[in-house]
Symmetry: C2
Subunit: 215 residues, 2 copies
DNA sequence: CAACTGAACTGAACAGTTGAGTTCAGTTGA
DNA sequence: TCAACTGAACTCAACTGTTCAGTTCAGTTG
């Protein structure tokens, strides 16, 4: 019944280009109009025949899945991850944390696309239960491990006192990135001034609780 | 062309019951299957003829709007608002804050429906731009004023030192309710133990930053 | 209490549209 | 030469919204 009965997707360099164009156009289309956007519109946006789309992906759901999983392993974390790693060597912990937080939050803010995609997934959860599960642990908060490692390192150095690491990680996320995710959900964006106050204020608050009592 | 040309919706006690049943069923259906659910399914769920649905609401979009606006002024905040008001008279600020936070967070957690509805609105923003605007300022974080008043009161008493009220409010939200909203977005729920640790840990963190330096 | 009235409701069929996925004959390009 | 691609026409299912003949029911009148 489905198109994938014994058919393997096209291969070769030409096919790869087409595939890329399709995913790109599909992502834009989904972001612009939601999951309800027509396959014809996507094909047209990719400058490709609808048949080609189906030869590559077999179904709309598979295409959507491809878009999401592709967005899933976007670099998003690379800049902020390196910023977090440098934390151990920093002399002035507060300044270093504020800097790391800035690049981190900025990565989230400039990738509103990813947040919007998450909303799509959330809204279509009933259609894509696996995607919902796959999205957990990824997305903008996808590098828990990096944050965990950074915090653990600082704790081992004795520069932070963290009795409950899991809670602390969530709190750091909550103070720094969750506001942008929550407000971004309806298209509201947090303005630059407030963003900066949330960063410095969040770091200060985090340090005044977990930091050494040097204050 | 539309059905509302010169037609007013039915009135009277019987009609009111039907209308209520329709909105209720529509809400469940939308939550269960998303906006794509068929009107026949909604009518069946309400135990009502499809014609009755159209006599009452005229269109699917109008019905969806009715569901959302009805959810908009749900009491959600009443319990937590009163809990927040009692804060000024409390002797033990930490205990009182933790208690207030518990009822507040619980209100949010048990109203996951409302959060899920918000996701629907976000996903269908292009179809309902007005709804998106109406939803801002409401929803689970809809009682900013109550929180603002409570914090201001404590600051005036000298029991908290809050240089930037707006930031402080968002931080309180971030520490206590945002995690449940973010994780709840894909159906993941925060388990009871973590919830409790987030509450106490969040309050402690908040107080260690804004509270008097008695620590 | 019986007959009546009229608005609201039912059930089923129907019209019109949209969109997913397919078919196919023909074209492009390494 | 062969796999990939195109374009257009097509099927098929689902969905929104409508129509209509008949039914329910609260309230009114005699």
């Amino acid at each position: 019944m489905s198109a994938d009965s014994g058919k393997q997707p096209p291969s070769g360099p030409r096919a790869a280009l087409k595939r890329q164009a399709i995913v790109r156009a599909a992502r834009e289309a989904f972001l612009r109009e939601g999951f309800g956007v027509g396959m014809d519109a996507i094909a047209a946006g990719a400058g490709v025949s609808k048949v080609t789309v189906y030869n590559h992906f077999g179904s709309k759901e598979a295409l959507f899945t491809a878009v999401i999983t592709e967005a899933l392993d976007e670099p998003l974390g690379s800049a902020s991850a390196t910023a977090l790693e440098g934390l151990a060597e920093a002399e002035d912990l507060r300044t270093a944390l504020v800097d790391a937080a800035r690049t981190w939050v900025n990565a989230v803010r400039t990738n509103q696309d990813v947040i919007a995609l998450r909303n799509l997934v959330a809204a279509e959860l009933h259609r894509f239960p696996e995607l919902g599960r796959a999205w957990q642990g990824h997305g903008p908060e996808g590098h828990h491990p990096a944050v965990a490692a950074a915090l653990r390192g600082l704790a081992d150095q004795g520069r932070l006192v963290i009795p409950d690491l899991e809670t602390a990680i969530i709190q750091l996320y909550a103070l720094l990135v969750f506001p942008h995710m929550v407000f971004g959900a309806y298209g509201t964006t947090v303005d630059d001034g407030l963003t900066e106050r949330l960063i410095t204020g969040g770091v200060d608050m985090f340090l005044s609780h977990y930091g050494p009592r040097e204050r």
